[in-house]
């Protein structure tokens, strides 16, 4: 594919490597995620999936290589800068404000969109009031979208795990991201919760046009909902292509699918 402006991938990762002391966590990994796609990153435990996600979201700085987002280089940005660019993420372990209500948790996802003025905010007057109402309306649309109206006012920490995951997704969506990074969105869920989450991921993708990159262990889920799969093993990319293609790839079978690794 030639890199013309129109068809440039939303996310382009070129030859990045990450070193933790003597351990080479990522070894010259490249991948590209076109706009509007759902991409999966899979691989055995310790393959470097989360490290890759952390590089994209700015938690780690790759020691080599470059990352481009929407055509611009952004290899050396901090997480807030990355978020401001339009990348949001969820975490492998739920990271919500446990004591805050679901609504407030999701509102925190809007922080980057808020133009604060200390005095006006404190008085909740004029533009500050209008702004908050607009943000609240946006958040309510997400609540409606993810069907969590019934828990709007519940403290996040009291919710069952599957719902917490959904709230986390809601918070990420509140930032109106162009790229959504999901770290094991379905880990620890039962079959029904997984089905719901799959439907929401597909809906987010089709309704908001959000590009999604996710890490997932459930191969059924990956094969069902993803357009494109990247397989890592020992920090190296061993396959990259459509689910059907990856499923038949001998290197993948050896490294991941063929060996006993049930998660």
């Amino acid at each position: 594919m030639t890199a013309t402006a129109g068809s440039a991938p939303l996310l382009q990762v070129d030859d990045i490597s990450v070193r933790f002391g003597a351990l080479l966590a990522l070894n010259r990994v490249s991948l590209s995620v076109p706009r509007g796609e759902i991409a999966a990153i899979i691989g055995p435990n310790g393959a470097g999936k989360t490290t890759l996600l952390n590089c994209i979201s700015g938690f780690y700085q790759p020691s080599e290589g470059r990352i481009a987002f929407a055509g611009r280089d952004r290899t050396r940005l901090s997480p807030p800068d990355v978020a401001a660019l339009g990348i949001a993420r969820t975490f492998q372990n739920v990271a919500l404000f446990r004591g805050m209500s679901v609504l407030d948790n999701i509102m925190t996802g809007r922080i980057l969109k808020m133009r604060g003025n200390f005095l006006l905010d404190a008085l909740w007057w004029g533009p500050a009031r209008r702004q908050e109402l607009a943000h609240r309306a946006f958040v309510e649309r997400i609540i409606d979208f993810l069907e969590i109206q019934a828990i709007r006012k519940s403290p996040a920490g009291l919710l069952p795990y599957g719902l917490q995951k959904r709230v986390e997704l809601a918070r990420a969506l509140a930032a109106e991201p162009q790229l959504l990074l999901l770290d094991e969105p379905m880990a620890g869920m039962n079959v029904e919760e997984k089905e719901d989450m799959c439907r929401f991921i597909l809906d987010v993708n089709s309704e908001f046009g959000t590009t999604i990159a996710l890490i997932e262990h459930d191969m059924g889920v990956v094969m069902d909902i993803c357009d494109h799969v990247v397989v890592l093993d020992y920090g190296r990319k061993i396959a990259d292509g459509t689910p059907e293609h990856v499923r038949k790839d001998q290197a993948v079978l050896d490294a991941y699918l063929g060996v006993a690794h049930h998660d």
Partner: protein, 644 residues
């Protein structure tokens, strides 16, 4: 109420148009959307329905067309119902959780040409249904979410439909008004498909006259008016919702409130605080459970206080229902109880403003009934049927009793057939089942509906339902005998866990009784009666005396109250030496007695009940929790009672 160019208000579209003129600013429907209650007035109700009707007309809606309506309670779906009726069509509300097969059957049977669906989920189902029902041409959806990629023919959003309607109105400005004028009271207003536990669903046809007259009678009896508020949360396909949230709301002009989602009903109930509330027993049970859990979680002073006052109130309510005077202390403490417990609790349940609450469907357990009434919530038993436009009998305010469903509604006549079946006749009696004259003939005879329930009218004129008519048996001499009724009466005692009545084809009624180990064990301990096992306890003479007292109570109440069943008093009983257990296949997992199996397994005992011995020895197989089998051997006593 006459207005509008002299045309009688004999259809819902005409009534809504009159409401729009009479109460233009009064809120007709509220819906919680994006966390905020949105209001629509009667004017909006009519205008939106008119726009939808124009849209339907632009696509060629013909008089007599049927519109399937499917989804949660949404204003748009009520408007689509009205729009269909305005054009002389028949709405067919469907259960939103129906599986594809059920939907296909009803859409096909009802000959639906149109469907209005809430959202993508329902559209997906309807699209698959349409593959098998080519008559279904157009599918309209209210919520556009997830619908962008759909391009099936005949599929359009409600907004698109209304836009088409606007254009159509330019060439046909009075189309809706013209069509609306053609409707009349004897036209079919709706098909209500009964869910049908046996066989295929049947589509009951209700006319405008049926629904409007019954709605008016019931609203008049309960004094419903525009100031009332109701929650529209029960399935739209259920005749109860159609009557309350549609027919009665339109006739009386009150406001209905559509919850945000099925999960938020209890929150929304609290926010709305309805004055008129309709709930099946399951909902009352859930409410009670949620209260009990919250009481358990409270700090001990609160818990103690709440329990104390709740017990006081329930005891008081039981006396009131039985027509006994209240003790002075109860009366003195009532205001304090209201201030500290009943008031706040009602408020928390969203029931502070309730004037009238119905329970219908199966019978509500007496303890639950008493609990809510004790809080001052006017819960009443309603007896109704789809085929009767809901209302047959309702308890009157201030005349509520635990064991009846109240006197017949005004203009409803009830009679009991030779076989003990309840028959009734009313303005609400339906037009018949759509395309099913056979079933209509079985149900409707000379204007009387055969309810399929066995019951009788007591001295006070209250209807008492005792059993399904087909479960009714007759003794050898032809006396009517209602096994479940007797069993429930006996099970009302805390000492009786299970009871099995025997009698059909026999000379008299007998009963196999299971004692409740916890209650009877506790009773025995307090009296210093020593026992070793369930079997031992069950055969103690003192326990027999205790149960005999309960059986005598049942017999006495039969003799006093129940004219029809007076002959079916319990002559002999025995207490089973083991508990009826699902593991032994004697009862189902849902605790329904398996009569056939018991008759076979305990044949020796049953023969003895109809013999002249007073003692019989038995062996019974039991299955232990771990699956091992064993036998219990016991001598079982038989008691005979004198019957009056």
């Amino acid at each position: 109420m006459t207005s509008n160019a002299g045309s009688p208000l004999d259809t819902f579209p005409k009534l809504v148009r009159a409401n729009a003129d009479r109460l233009p600013r009064h809120v007709a429907i509220r819906e919680k959307d994006l966390g905020i209650w949105q209001s629509y007035t009667w004017r909006d109700y009519f205008d939106r329905s008119r726009r939808i009707a124009l849209g339907l007309a632009s696509l060629g809606f013909a008089r007599g067309d049927k519109t399937a309506i499917i989804g949660d309670n949404r204003p748009e779906l009520y408007w689509a119902t009205l729009a269909t009726q305005a054009l002389g069509g028949v709405p067919v509300p469907l259960y939103q959780d129906s599986i594809e097969k059920e939907l296909t059957y009803i859409v096909e049977h009802a000959e639906a040409r149109w469907a209005v669906a809430e959202d993508q989920e329902q559209v997906d189902k309807l699209l698959r249904v349409r593959e098998q029902c080519p008559r279904l041409e157009f599918i309209v959806y209210a919520d556009t979410r997830g619908m962008r990629a759909y391009s099936e023919p005949g599929l359009l959003s409600l907004t698109e439909l209304e836009e088409r309607g606007e254009k159509f109105a330019l060439g046909h400005p009075t189309h809706v008004e013209d069509e609306l004028g053609k409707g009349g009271r004897e036209d079919t207003a709706v098909f209500c498909y009964t869910s049908g536990t046996t066989g295929a669903p049947k589509g009951a046809m209700l006319s405008y006259r049926n629904l409007i007259e019954m709605a008016r009678i019931a609203a008049g009896r309960e004094g419903l008016g525009p100031a009332d508020e109701a929650l529209a949360y029960l399935p739209m396909a259920w005749v109860g919702d159609h009557m309350l949230s549609y027919a009665q709301a339109i006739v009386a002009g009150f406001t209905i409130n559509c919850p945000e989602s099925a999960d938020t009903v209890l929150h929304d109930l609290k926010e709305i605080g309805p004055t008129y509330f309709f709930a099946p027993p399951r909902i009352w049970e859930n409410l009670l459970t949620s209260v009990m859990i919250r009481i358990e979680d409270a700090a001990w002073p609160k818990r103690r206080l709440t329990r104390l006052f709740l017990e006081l109130a329930q005891e008081g309510e039981r006396r009131r229902l039985a027509g006994q005077p209240l003790p002075l202390l109860t009366r003195l403490l009532a205001p304090l109880g209201y201030l500290l417990v009943y008031g706040p609790l009602r408020d928390n349940l969203g029931m502070r403003r309730i004037r009238i609450a119905y329970t219908a469907g199966e019978a509500l357990g007496p303890e639950i009934f008493v609990f809510f009434r004790a809080l001052g919530i006017n819960v009443k038993q309603l007896y109704g049927m789809t085929e009767a436009s809901v209302f047959v009998a309702v308890q009157k305010n201030g005349e509520v009793r635990l064991d009846t469903v109240g006197p017949p509604m005004p203009e409803v006549e009830i009679k009991i057939s030779e076989a003990g079946e309840v028959l009734f006749r009313s303005p609400g009696v339906f037009q018949g089942y759509f395309k099913n004259p056979e079933a209509t003939r079985q149900t409707l005879e000379d204007g009387w509906i055969h309810s399929g329930d066995a019951g009788f009218l007591d001295q006070a004129g209250h209807l008492k339902i005792i059993d399904r008519a087909k479960d009714l048996g007759r003794l050898l001499d032809g006396t009517v005998f209602a096994p479940k009724y007797l069993e429930n009466k006996l099970k009302f005692s805390p000492f009786v866990k299970e009871a099995v009545a025997l009698g059909p084809g026999r000379p008299y009624v007998t009963m196999l009784v299971n004692i409740d180990l916890a209650a009877v064990g506790n009773w025995a301990e307090r009296r210093g009666i020593a026992y070793t096992s369930y079997t031992d306890l069950s055969q103690k003479p003192e326990v027999y005396d205790l149960i005999q007292g309960e059986v005598t109570r049942v017999n006495r109440s039969l003799a006093l109250e129940d004219e029809v069943l007076r002959g079916a008093q319990i002559r002999k009983f025995l207490i089973l030496h083991k508990e009826l257990d699902p593991d032994d296949e004697e009862i189902t997992r849902t605790r329904k007695v398996r009569r056939g199996y018991i008759a076979q397994k305990y044949a020796a005992l049953i023969e003895a009940l109809y013999g002249d011995r007073d003692r019989v020895s038995v062996e019974a197989q039991v299955t232990y929790e771990d699956g091992r089998k064993g036998t219990i051997r016991a001598d079982v006593t038989i008691r005979e009672l004198s019957t009056r």
